[in-house]
């Protein structure tokens, strides 16, 4: 109850003798008494427990030393690598080609593939070259590769030199595939969209296209513009580790950094060659009709609001633009094909809208026929604008001219690059340093500093003054740099300005730091958020126009009256559209499927249904997006045949009332997969969640479980290693809390109930369970349950871990370097906290060592499901749908499409085991997830689950707020639960 006092107590305990300790405690009891008069929760009980914790802190000093022996090896950053190799020259000669014949690969030697000699590297395979006699230098790696049409959206490629990892970015490079609309390629420039029953254009499904591609290995985060350099010398072994999908590689070249001439020089060249300035008609290509894209998610998008968008129709939704937030990650490329009527000089106009990043520009590289025409197009910036803009490529003085020849097909491509890579990189490293500084201070003053105490930070932290001045200077340099690159004072950049001011005032008055620490932390996380924003580069474009050099761009026709008339038409049309039904078929046999999920998910499912279910089996399906009212609808007979995404609580309530089909009935069904086959696709315990009275009434489609997240940098700093058991966790907590850092166990699940997953985890590891004898009574009177409950609550009473906290911001700032959470939290961190990339790890949860010396790391899982209703007319069709939907193939397609729409932040947590490998997890992460998943168990859902969860919440809160005895409290609530179970069973006629 009084963290600060307990901190003082700890200090005192460590530094004073026993006598003064007793005095101090008696004083604190007095203080406590005073507090109780103000705050009713404060009770005398915790004082005794704090005495205990003093003892335990002293006790585990020795065990900590033991732990300190192991520490982390963090791969260096590319920046560090470059600094280390600053003396090595950057290669500046002709490309050195290493061909397939000289490659050694476990999957066989070079053979002929698509007209070239190539090695085919299988999924997760390696290919190695021995570097011939070359000068010792830093080289770019350029790879000529072709797709083998294997699954996966891109190749992730890791570079090993002499079988060692080089730096972090080298392990995460990506080779892109080519994606195109299969109907489009031969039809360009015709519109090739399919239409729904209302005449709206549908988003196409892109397919992979074969063909040779050449690409340099680059930083997939876009922080470094010129590609990744590797130090190579004669005799080095260079290995590429290709993950996720098989690839054909014909050659690897060691190349020099490509240099373009500036436009001024190019202009002189045009003049020297006497290229003609032309007049005449402009050539327009619609952006939504690309030749191919680098990503299956770069789909056409729709702008229904601007009348000037081409083409536009008030009554129907047209796919008339491309990009938006699907086109914001580094290296995403769109390529268009075009031809011009006359040979000569052209200007390029692009109609674009960038209304995502206020006050910030986004960057694109332009390539014409595969090459960057001149230096200015290496990072061409599009400014923020609320409305559509017509951008003529050019500099402040003049539009750029491009020499294009008539009579042949040209390509133009735009690739995402970060508009301010250097600034972002510097800001990220400054932020990381400031976070470390914050943590240093936090470790001394704690989360609740005493405003009247002088913590003497300047004498405790070495080089305190110098460091602060350094930060101040760094930030000032950065700010000036940012002003120069076009950021306006007081605009979005204000987060950096504020931070600079704050640091300045810190170095003036160090005594004020403790009081302003939480504001400082807020500013740091604001900067972190801004950086995450800044690294995204969304842009929407409508068309590209090739304008003969003498012509002026036509004025956009957006007269007020015309826009108004158009808006009114759109308004009228909105009365006709049907937005809830996603696909409807009029057929007796049709299955009615409800999706309880987001609109994007429903669209994807619908697309999958029409392309690979109805198409394949000929069973018509009606899909609708319904979020609420499943049970009332079932009651009135208007319910669906199949529900996708039903939560386990609703599912068991339906099952207990005989509304769902027992899926074991499909054991001997004359179909591709019987129930047992389908069952084997899941983790063995998955189906327990959906088992009621021995009936299995649903199949899981999504599954999450807890994993442990640790900040490796902080652990390294404190000499800690990741805890593997709960005892080790206890020690870790002690060390961390001595440094005023927290550990986060998931507790809060909104106001309603406490997150029970840690209790369940402990219960599994102690060999207990929620129910005994089916579900006729609870298992909470068992010793295992009491141990688990006591241990769980002790974390909050004795170790005083916080119960309410914002995990994301605390983990990111380092205030909470260890946390247990659902593994989907990985995605949040990955996308939302770029500044700590590579500084954290996801590991299995702590375990318990069993009698046979094995480590039990069981964890509790939960999820959502798909279920089939009894009222379904044709149950075999229903089962066919279910087994099609949960199959590896469908789920993998679903996961990939969802990820391509929502980005890596929306990565699925599938229940079908095989799918995990098909989606974009890095290999090591996937291994950790599988490791944990194999040890997942679940608590079966029953019609009284609601009562167990509320009783456990109440018991937990009783113990943690009022410090009651855990055993007695659990017993008391257990009696109530058993009473409710008996009542409910009687009610259900069991």
């Amino acid at each position: 109850m009084n963290i600060e006092r307990s901190d003082l107590l700890r200090e005192v305990a460590l530094h004073m003798n026993a006598k003064s300790q007793i005095k101090w405690i008696s004083f604190s009891v007095g203080l406590c008494f005073l507090l109780t008069t103000i705050v009713p929760t404060a009770s005398a009980a915790p004082t005794a427990e704090e005495e205990l914790s003093i003892v335990s802190v002293q006790d585990d000093k020795d065990s900590c030393r033991e732990v300190e022996q192991e520490s982390y090896e963090v791969l260096p950053d590319y920046g560090t690598y470059l600094n280390e190799n600053a003396s090595v020259p950057v290669y500046d000669g002709k490309p050195i080609i290493l061909d397939a014949a000289h490659a050694s690969c476990a999957d066989g030697g070079a053979r002929s593939f698509e007209g070239r000699s190539a090695v085919i590297v299988s999924k997760d395979g390696y290919v190695t070259w021995e570097i011939p006699a070359v000068e010792e230098a830093l080289y770019l790696l350029q790879i000529r590769y072709a797709s083998t049409l294997d699954s996966g959206s891109a190749y992730s490629c890791e570079v090993l030199i002499n079988d060692k990892k080089v730096y972090r970015q080298a392990s995460l490079t990506v080779l892109h595939k080519k994606w195109a609309n299969p109907k489009g390629i031969s039809n360009l420039p015709a519109r090739f969209f399919e239409h729904d029953q209302y005449g709206n254009e549908l988003v196409p499904v892109l397919e992979e296209v074969q063909g040779w591609q050449v690409q340099c290995l680059t930083d997939s985060d876009g922080r470094y513009e010129d590609g990744l350099l590797f130090r190579l010398g004669t005799g080095d072994r260079l290995t590429l580790h290709i993950k996720k999908s098989a690839i054909a590689i014909s050659e690897l070249s060691l190349v020099a950094v490509e240099k373009q001439m500036p436009y001024e020089q190019k202009k002189l060249e045009y003049q020297a060659s006497g290229y003609p300035m032309l007049s005449g008609e402009a050539t327009v290509i619609q952006a939504e009709l690309p030749l191919y894209t680098s990503d299956s998610s770069l789909l056409p998008t729709s702008d229904h609001m601007s009348v000037a968008t081409q083409p536009q129709d008030a009554m129907h939704i047209l796919q008339n633009t491309i990009g938006k937030e699907y086109w914001q990650y580094a290296e995403q490329t769109i390529t268009w094909q075009f031809s011009v009527p006359k040979t000569g000089l052209y200007k390029i106009n692009i109609r674009y809208r960038q209304n995502y990043q206020r006050g910030v520009s986004v960057g694109r590289v332009f390539r014409i026929d595969g090459a960057i025409p001149f230096e200015e197009l290496k990072n061409y910036q599009f400014e923020f604008s609320d409305s559509w803009e017509n951008e003529q490529l050019g500099n402040e003085n003049e539009p750029f001219l491009f020499y294009l020849e008539a009579g042949k097909d040209h390509t133009i491509s735009m690739e995402v690059v970060m508009a301010y890579p250097t600034q972002v990189r510097k800001l990220e490293s400054t932020l990381q340093e400031l976070n470390t500084f914050y943590r240093q201070v936090l470790m001394i003053v704690g989360t609740n500093p005493d405003p009247y105490r002088d913590y003497m930070l300047d004498s405790i932290i070495p080089n305190f003054k110098e460091e602060l001045e350094q930060y101040q200077e760094d930030l000032q340099v950065l700010l000036n740099d940012l002003y120069e690159s076009g950021f306006k004072r007081g605009g979005s950049i204000v987060v950096v300005e504020e931070l600079a001011d704050m640091i300045a005032s810190f170095s003036e008055k160090p005594g004020k730091i403790p009081v302003r620490l939480s504001t400082f932390n807020d500013s740091l996380s604001a900067l972190g958020n801004w950086l995450a924003e800044l690294s995204r580069q969304p842009l929407e474009i409508d068309y590209l126009m090739f304008l003969p050099g003498n012509e002026e761009a036509p004025r956009e026709d957006t007269a007020l009256f015309k826009s108004f008339a158009y808006s009114f038409q759109v308004f009228l049309a909105s009365f006709y559209g049907d937005y809830s039904s996603i696909a409807s078929v009029d057929s007796e046999r049709a299955l009615s499927v409800w999706i309880n999920s987001g609109r994007d998910q429903a669209q994807v499912i619908k697309r999958l249904v029409s392309s690979s279910f109805t198409g394949k089996y000929g069973i018509p399906v009606n899909v609708s997006l319904v979020l609420q009212g499943l049970i009332p609808a079932t009651l009135s007979g208007k319910g669906p045949d199949i529900i996708i995404g039903v939560n386990p609580t609703d599912a068991v309530n339906l099952a207990a009332r005989d509304a769902l089909v027992d899926l074991r009935d499909f054991q001997d069904v004359d179909q591709a997969a019987s129930f047992d086959t389908v069952r084997s696709w899941f983790q063995p315990y998955s189906l327990d969640l959906y088992t009621y009275e021995n009936e299995i009434y649903a199949l899981p489609i999504e599954e999450v479980f807890n994993m442990m997240f640790i900040r490796t940098d902080i652990f390294q700093e404190l000499g800690l290693s990741a805890p593997r058991t709960w005892e080790e966790l206890n020690n870790t907590i002690s060390v961390l809390s001595r440094n005023n850092l927290d550990v986060g166990l998931p507790t809060n699940q909104g106001q309603n109930s406490v997150n029970e997953s840690i209790f369940q985890t402990l219960l599994f590891q102690n060999g207990g369970s929620y129910y005994e004898d089916g579900w006729s009574k609870t298992g909470f009177s068992s010793p295992a349950a009491i141990t688990a409950f006591t241990q769980w609550t002790e974390y909050f009473t004795q170790y005083t871990l916080p119960t309410d906290y914002d995990l994301f911001s605390r983990f990111r700032s380092g205030q909470m370097p260890l946390a247990l959470n659902a593994y989907s939290f990985y995605n949040n961190l990955n996308v939302g906290a770029p500044e700590i990339r590579g500084l954290w790890e996801m590991l299995p949860v702590p375990g318990t060592i069993k009698e046979d010396k094995t480590l039990d790391q069981s964890t509790a899982g939960s999820g959502s499901a798909i279920a089939l209703f009894r009222k379904t007319a044709n149950k075999d069709d229903g089962w066919r749908f279910l087994q099609w939907y949960v199959s590896n193939e469908t789920q993998a397609m679903y996961a990939r499409q969802i990820e391509s729409i929502l980005g890596p932040g929306g990565r699925c947590t599938p229940a079908t085991v095989g799918v995990l490998h098909e989606i974009g997890w890095e290999e090591e992460v996937e291994e950790q997830i599988m490791n944990q998943w194999n040890q997942m168990k679940v608590i079966p859902m029953t019609p009284v689950s609601y009562y167990l969860s509320r009783s456990i919440s109440n018991a937990f809160r009783k113990v943690t707020y009022s410090y009651t005895d855990p055993r007695e409290t659990l017993n008391r609530y257990n009696r109530e639960i058993n009473k409710e179970i008996a009542r409910k069973r009687a009610n259900l006629g069991l």
């Binding site: 109850m1 009084n2 049970i631 809160r957 707020y961 259900l988």
Partner: protein, 309 residues
């Protein structure tokens, strides 16, 4: 009513009598659309829930007739029901009257202000109730985190050193909900009071001054309040009836059920059985009891207040 001489009473009454007959069915026809909806959405559900309260109904299977079982377990077995009744009474007789008097007080104070100020304050006080579910902002204010608005304020000022779980600790939940409920309930009655104050004839105050009213308080007690009796009655009925229906705020802030049912009300108890446990028969029984209690209190209040009418 006696007809006054000078009016054409005889003919009026005869036309009326005939007219009554003629008008009667026309009036009913005009009433019909409203009555249909009223019957369909109010009367029918009331009867349906009375009927269902004698059954065991799980929403999917056909209801089983159990006669008074639901009522007997409600009154004899259900501890939580008693808690919820207690809390509902706290809301009805603490929050209801308290907010009633606060409304009156604020309305009176604001009424004394100049017009622009009055407009401003009316908006400020009325805003919470027109803004719908705006009370969820209180989850940020009362967050149990160290960085929750109220907690961080109290910690900074040194009143507490550890965050208080305003929304999950049973010692605080009911208090938190009451505060939010008060804040929220100022709206409608407040507006009707202001309207009432505006509607009072100014000349009455002048006459009062002549008759020896000495200060504003006397003015309030002898003139203002008696002239506002209908408004007062309306607000009192509204406030107390509304207090019986309290639940939405509680379930949004502290959850349904709240920790140890500390802020559980009868409506929430009904929702618990109806929407979480799917025992509609039992939930109906609760709703019938609540319905009867509401009618009873309404009549009582009307009786009490009619004395002043």
């Amino acid at each position: 009513m006696k007809a006054r001489p000078g009016y054409r009473c005889a003919s009026v009454s005869s036309v009326n009598r005939r007219g009554m007959k003629r008008y009667q069915w026309q009036e009913y026809i005009m009433l019909l659309p409203f009555f249909c909806f009223f019957a369909l959405f109010i009367i029918l559900p009331i009867f349906a829930s009375i009927a269902l309260s004698f059954t065991d109904f799980n929403m999917l299977q056909f209801p089983k007739f159990v006669f008074l079982d639901n009522y007997s377990s409600l009154f004899l077995d259900d501890d939580v029901f008693l808690i919820s009744v207690k809390n509902t009474l706290v809301f009805a007789f603490l929050t209801g009257p308290l907010s009633y008097f606060l409304c009156l007080l604020f309305a009176w104070l604001i009424n004394e202000m100049s017009k622009p100020l009055r407009m401003l304050f009316t908006l400020i006080f009325y805003a919470p109730s027109i803004a719908g579910n705006i009370f969820v902002v209180w989850t940020a204010i009362l967050s149990g985190d160290r960085y929750g608005l109220l907690n961080s304020l109290l910690i900074q000022t040194g009143f507490i050193s550890d965050p208080i779980k305003w929304l999950t600790n049973p010692a605080y939940t009911l208090g938190s909900v009451i505060v939010v409920q008060l804040w929220l309930s100022l709206g409608i009655s407040f507006l009707s009071f202001i309207a009432g104050f505006q509607g009072i004839d100014r000349s009455m105050y002048e006459a009062g001054a002549v008759d020896g009213i000495r200060n504003r308080f006397q003015e309030l007690i002898y003139l203002t309040l008696p002239s506002m009796a209908p408004m007062l009655l309306f607000s009192a009925v509204m406030q107390i009836t509304a207090s019986f229906g309290v639940g939405a705020v509680s379930s949004a802030l502290v959850g349904n059920p709240s920790t140890d049912y500390s802020a559980h009300t009868v409506v929430l108890h009904m929702q618990d059985y109806g929407m979480i446990r799917y025992e509609l028969g039992y939930a109906s029984a609760i709703s019938v009891v609540l319905f009867l209690a509401m009618i009873l209190t309404n009549t009582l209040i009307k009786k009490i207040l009619s004395k002043y009418n």
